[in-house]
């Protein structure tokens, strides 16, 4: 019996390796070796080119980390990363929880429909979505048009009234039009705006207008205008990115939380409701504690994802303007591709990994402190 057993054990062993090795080798190839390589290069003076048998390079110690920590660009990128982590953990998760609760408790009907809609952005390439939002937030984009819609229609109304379906304008009509125009533009028309209007804005300076529709269309540009400068101003450029981050992934947590709420014993909640607990109280005292483990896991994945965000920001701003929207991964990419500084770039990679695990550890610690369950 014993010999059969040991024979089986050996076979077990062989089978274990046969089944697990393909995965493990690939895992080492794409995760394991690159981490080691990254650590080594971050401590070296490797300048690119052939690594083995090329120009010699050597381990030079922690010099790169010193350079990194004294580089303001690093701290800016780290700050932006922290912003992304914060909006994710304290934006996506609470919002996701609220929506999941509304659906779970059937406070709103057709829960599956809402949940399905909220998830749509999460399935689409962030490259597509990033470019789309760039068009929306652009200084001449959708947002600007939505905000300026009222002013534009006021001007169009004044134009149509003045033209009165004819092709000529009188001074009275021009005065009405001037009132609905952007004061800055009117200022450019000189001391006598009516004369200036005739001279500069009427085709050929004549009062007769060839094509009234085309004239009205061209005049739309002179309505009072608000120009969104989020993407171009340095101190606001992170706002659209944070907004899109929140917009994109909240739906995922709605699904996750709702699915786990379904596992709560519904009798407990019914009993609490019969006892007179409000929805708020039920959410706080019954559902939230029951979901604490899931919330922590979600927070961990949220942090890991946020620390590695790259594509969305790359599509929206490429880290600009003037690198103010750079996160660590973009800073790392720029250092390697434009700067050709591989040691520094790899030091950044190491720092990203260390910070990710620090934040995850902190989350676990918070969980223990708050006494949440596994």
């Amino acid at each position: 019996m014993a010999s059969v057993r040991s024979g089986t054990r050996r076979e077990d062993h062989k089978a274990f390796w046969a089944f697990s090795l393909p995965a493990f080798i690939l895992y080492l190839f794409v995760f394991g070796f690159p981490i080691v390589l990254s650590a080594v290069i971050s401590l070296s003076n490797y300048k690119g080119g052939q690594m083995f048998g090329g120009e010699p390079w050597a381990i030079t110690g922690f010099k790169q980390y010193g350079l990194l920590f004294s580089d303001p660009a690093f701290w800016l990128a780290l700050k932006n990363n922290i912003y992304i982590v914060l909006i994710s953990v304290f934006g996506q998760l609470p919002l996701g929880f609220v929506f999941a609760y509304l659906i779970y408790r059937k406070v709103v009907k057709f829960g599956e429909f809402w949940q399905g809609i909220l998830y749509v952005p999460a399935i689409i390439s962030v490259i597509v979505l990033g470019i789309m939002w760039k068009f929306i937030f652009a200084s001449n984009g959708l947002l600007a048009d939505l905000f300026n819609y009222g002013n534009t229609s006021k001007l169009v109304a004044a134009l149509n009234l003045a033209l009165n379906s004819g092709t000529t304008l009188n001074d009275e009509g021009i005065r009405h039009i001037l009132k609905a125009m952007d004061p800055n533009v009117v200022g450019l028309l000189g001391s006598d705006p009516v004369a200036g209007f005739k001279e500069q804005l009427l085709p050929g300076g004549s009062l007769a207008i060839g094509d009234p529709a085309a004239f009205v269309n061209a005049m739309k540009n002179y309505a009072p205008k608000w120009t969104p400068e989020f993407m171009t101003k340095q101190d606001t450029a992170m706002i659209p990115i944070m907004f899109v981050t929140l917009w994109c992934w909240t739906g995922m947590y709605v699904i996750l939380f709702n699915a786990n709420m379904q596992k709560i014993d519904s009798e407990v909640i019914e009993a609490a409701r019969i006892d007179g607990a409000t929805e708020m109280q039920t959410a706080r005292h019954i559902v939230l504690p029951a979901l604490s483990g899931i919330l922590i896991n979600a927070a961990i994945l949220c942090i890991a994802g946020s620390m590695n965000q790259f594509a969305l920001i790359w599509a929206m701003t490429e880290g600009g303007p003037m690198n103010v929207t750079e996160v660590l991964s973009i800073y790392m990419y720029r250092t390697a591709t434009i700067g050709q500084n591989y040691p520094l770039s790899n030091a950044i990679a190491m720092v990203i990994i260390v910070i990710s695990f620090l934040l995850i550890g902190l989350t676990k610690l918070a969980q223990k402190r708050l006494g949440g369950q596994e």
Binding site: F24, Y27, S125, K134, A304, F310, A349
Partner: protein, 314 residues
């Protein structure tokens, strides 16, 4: 949980004021939910609508319906954007990558869940840690590793007289093979975690009984484990697939030539310099989002199930 807090407001909950509060609460709930749902899909619908506008039409009016419909934008975008190359590439990476992730993960999941070895716990643990790692932070070392391996092999072949230029050799960097390796590797941790946990739920007695009947482990895997794993395999495949389809950071650095590029790379390049025509730009974006939108509509149930399983990364 404090019962006193609930008791205190018990009378409040049943009073008339409470009822009014409940109704107001409901209205607010619908308003907030409606607003967010609108926000979630309106920009995408807006994008689709504007993809049918002419360049001029868009610049004059970004809100209204197209004055004249320009489906020709799509033909233009398709041609300028090289979508005839990008789309088949994306399909190839996604199908082969997803199949690879699922197959290799199921094999490993079987080993970790049912086969005894001292290496099992640390190996499985390393994959679980990997769930929290994202390959995009390793894109630079990964790029160095792949390109240096090619150089190393190229030099080896050259010294053996098989090649003349060591730099011309490409196995990992700038190859389909390299992309597939990276994509399978990056999908493994989460897939192995989900599949191992699932196989642990399959009674070990089934495996043991088959062993006593003299079945080999390969047979057990093919005849018992694999068929029983179909639900989790479907779930894993369905959440891996969009991840590979939409992946950008890695392929951006491990692939240089157009022939190997995927959709996200092509779309970004398109928006950069290829066309100043807004209508065509929007058409290109719609071509980029349509496959996943259709995929979502077709498999919404399974996708929702996959996300529910805690398979989140964002």
């Amino acid at each position: 949980m404090s019962n006193t807090a609930i008791d205190k407001e018990r009378s409040f909950g049943t009073s008339l004021v409470g009822k009014i509060a409940a109704i107001v609460g409901k209205i607010v709930a619908y308003a907030v939910m409606g607003a967010f749902a609108f926000m979630a899909v309106f920009p995408i619908l807006w994008l689709i609508m504007n993809s049918f506008k002419s360049n001029q039409d868009y610049q004059l009016d970004k809100i209204g319906w197209p004055k004249e419909w320009f489906p020709i934008n799509y033909a233009g975008a398709w041609q300028i954007g090289d979508f005839g190359i990008l789309l088949p590439n994306s399909v190839f990476y996604t199908v082969v990558g997803t199949a690879g992730v699922v197959l290799i993960s199921t094999l490993a999941g079987f080993a970790f869940a049912k086969l005894k070895s001292r290496a099992s716990v640390p190996m499985y643990g390393s994959f679980v840690i990997g769930v929290m790692l994202s390959l995009s932070s390793l894109m630079i070392p990964l790029f160095l590793q792949l390109s240096q391996l090619d150089l190393l092999l190229g030099n080896l072949w050259t010294s053996m007289g098989l090649m003349t230029d060591p730099r011309a050799f490409h196995l990992f960097y700038n190859t389909r093979f390299g992309v597939i390796l990276v994509y399978i590797g990056s999908g493994l941790p989460l897939a192995i975690y989900m599949i191992t946990e699932y196989i642990r739920g399959i009674p070990t007695s089934l495996v043991e009984a088959a062993r006593i009947d003299g079945a080999s482990y390969w047979k057990i895997f093919a005849r018992i484990i694999l068929p029983m794993c179909m639900p989790i395999i479907t779930t894993v495949a369905i959440i891996t697939l969009p991840g590979i389809w939409n992946e950008f950071a890695l392929i951006n650095i491990i692939v240089g030539k157009l022939d190997l590029q995927s959709l996200p790379l092509g779309i970004l390049r398109f928006s950069g310099s290829r066309s100043a025509d807004y209508g065509k730009q929007f058409a290109a974006l719609v071509i980029g989002l349509a496959p996943m939108l259709i995929f979502y509509i077709a498999f919404q149930k399974q996708i929702t199930k996959g996300v529910s399983g805690g398979a989140v990364k964002g």
